[in-house]
Structure formats: C-alpha cells, structure tokens
C-alpha cells in the first residue's frame, strides 16, 4: 500500500501528482504486481481532495496499462516499473553513491549536484527527453 502526499501549491495538477507518485513507487518496488492501490475513499479521507481526482488518476494509470480496476475489489497493480539494475542493491546505484560521495568531498552542495546531474541527463538523453516531452504535451 502507498500513501499519497498532495502539495496544493506545487502548480502540478493533483491527479498528476498521484500518477507520478504511483509510478515512482512502481519504480522503487514499493508497489509490485498484484498489490492493491488505496481506494478513492481511503485517499480522500487522508488527503481531503476530491474523489473524482483520485478516480481520474487511476483511469490514467489504467490507460497506461500499469494498473487494472477489478469491480468490487479495487484497483490493482498490473506491472512494475522497477528495473533490477536500478534496485537498491544494484551495481549502478552503488556507482552513483560513490560518485555523489566524491562530489560532496569536492565541495558540491545538494543543488549543485542536482543541477549537474540534470544537465548531464539532458545531454545524454536528448532523444529520450524529446519523446517524454511530446508524451506529456499530448496528454495535457
């Protein structure tokens, strides 16, 4: 099960925050195939947002094939976004941890590291980034 954090001042539509946080949980393995998402009632009770917003987010996740509604039972995870390589004990993560430690030793602050990583990602994932952009534009 997962708990959503809604930031009303973020400027990101509330249903998209739910979509993003669900995907993040799928990537990190907090949610796995067969897991049940909280019901709309549980989410709105905890967050005080409109129930339709939760249903809209779940429809979007359903449309992307990530979850499926089972009438009368709830909404269940269909597939994971987790990749073994990105797991907590994966070699890529260990390398990244080592690199971040070196960056800190070199005197870089949190924001400096984030900016550096973002700019390298931008550079190395040019085509990927463009594809994601189109995707989000198509949705809005």
């Amino acid at each position: 099960m997962i708990e959503y954090r809604i930031d009303r001042r973020s400027g990101v539509a509330t249903y998209l925050q739910i979509v993003h946080q669900t995907k993040q949980a799928l990537r990190l393995g907090l949610l796995q195939p067969g897991d049940k998402l909280p019901t709309a009632r549980e989410v709105v009770e905890a967050t005080a947002i409109n129930p339709n917003t939760v249903l809209k987010a779940y429809r979007e996740l359903d449309r992307e094939g990530l979850v499926e509604p089972r009438p009368g039972l709830g909404t269940f995870v269909r597939r994971s976004l987790a990749r073994a390589e990105a797991g907590a004990d994966g070699p890529l993560r260990a390398e990244l941890v080592a690199w971040v430690d070196r960056a800190r030793l070199a005197g870089l602050e949190h924001e400096d590291v984030a900016a550096l990583v973002a700019s390298v990602l931008e550079q190395r994932f040019v085509t990927g980034v463009a594809a994601t952009k189109r995707e989000t534009e198509g949705k809005s």
Binding site: R8, A40, I49, P51
Partner: protein, 309 residues
Amino acid sequence: MNDPTGGATALEALGLGKRYRRGWALRDCSFRIPAGAVCGMVGPNGAGKSTLLALAADLLKPTEGAITVFGRPLDAPGQRARVAFVAQDKPLYPRFTVAETLRLGRELNPGWNQSAAQRVVDQGDLPADARIGTLSGGQRTRVALALALGKRPGLLILDEPMSDMDPLARHQLMGTLMSEAAANGTTLLMSSHILAELDGTIDHLLLVDSGRIRLAGEVDEILAAHRLVVGADPGDGGPGPTVGHTVVESRRTGRQLTVLLRPEGMIDSGWEVTEPTLEELLLGYLRSPQAPTLFTDSARAGHDAAVAA
C-alpha cells in the same frame, strides 16, 4: 465523470428570489447542481449565500421562484430525510452531552447511521459525556457534522463549515466529508470564504454576488474557459491582447498589463498566456462586478428537459 449519476439533479433553482424588509437578498437565481457534485459556494459577505442555503434547506420560504431537490419540491413527503443542513452558528442544545446529542439524532431520524456519526465524533477525541456548552467552536462543529452525516442525507448543505476550526481539524473534517461523498455519492453544497480551502476539494462552483449567480458549473470547465494573459502594456494607442475576447478583468501595474479573459479563438502571440488558478479566477470576478456571467451546460436550470427534448 462530472455527472456521475448519469444526469440526475440534486438541486435545481428556477427564478428564485428572497426579499427581506430591507430589500432583495436574492433575485432571479436559476441554476442546477448535478447529483454527486461537491459544490463550493463562494461570494463576498452579504452576497446572499446564507439565504440561498437556507432556502435550499427549507428553513426559509422563497418570495418568488422555486427550488427542487432530487426532482421534487421541498415540501414533498420524505424530503426532510434527504437533506441535512449544518448552519453557520451550529445550533445544538448546550445542556446536552455529546452522547445525548447523537441519541437525539437517532430518535429523530428514521434512517440514522450511528457508526457514521460516531466515527466523526471519535476522530475528534470528544468525550461522550462532555456537555455541548463546554466544547470549543471547532468541537461543536464536529458534533454538528456528526449529526448531519448520521442522517445519511443525499444532499448535505454546509454554511461556512470550517470557519472556526484549526488547520488539523479542518483537514480531518474535509477528509471525512470527501470520504462520505466517495462512499455514498452524497452531494455536498458548502459555502466558504476561504478560497484555498475549496481548491482541490470542490468539483463544482457557484459564485454568488449581490444576490445573483455569476458563475456556475464544473470547476475544470470554468477554468478551461478562461485565460490569464500577462505582457507589456501597449498603451492607449496599441492593440491589447483583449481584442475579440470577453474581458473579465484588466489591471495595469507599471508597464505590465494583466488580463483575465474568456478567449474567443486564438490569443495574439507575444503574451504570456496561462490558465488561471481557482483563486485567481474568483478574485478576478469579485473585483469586476460588471463581468458577464457564465453557466456551464450542466449548471443550467432545465438541463434535463433540454437533454430529453
């Protein structure tokens, strides 16, 4: 989705008006709230919000026009059981304890749901033997809400429900209300001064101002019909961004021009164009009493008949 019950109407007003000795508090109000909506009613002090809510709760009789709830007049049999009203001053018996107040609700309401009422009271850690008169304003609001929700109404009307509550209690109670709407499809109609309290919570909007309805309908649809346009002021001679559009509000700050408008087609390039937030939209309308009204299709009285015809 905006009409989750497939077109049923929770509340409809036709030519509704109410005159007090000092004049008209409400005039010529026609609108519709679909069943299952979470509708926020906003407007300045003295706009007629409380009058409109009291008319809907059948506590006042209209001077002209009529209101129906779930398609039937308010004095039809069984209507009282379908509507719950939490008034601004939360009238309760101060000498009663919390438990006695809930018992009163149980004895007076045939469809009473004790667990729904008890849940709201328990959430606030209210001792069952505490007298209402000794409770804080926020705690009294909680008991009043427990009474209203124990009734399991189809339509729950709340007049400034959260005004005297701390942020935590407000969040909890809004969560309780939303969960009620999600689980039972309860239609909620609530007035509030606190615009931030409504954002993200309501899906329908009624803007009441000077005794009239100025905006009515789905929040998403109303927001999508507006744009906030910001740019350099072209001065008196130059063509502004507003040509050909319906202007709600136009403000100048130094060389900057900020316009809230309803676009009719493309907006000229060279302007920064965004969809307004709910707060920006409402403030824009409240500052501009002359701005034209807007009703979405589902908010127009007689919507059902129009669909059937």
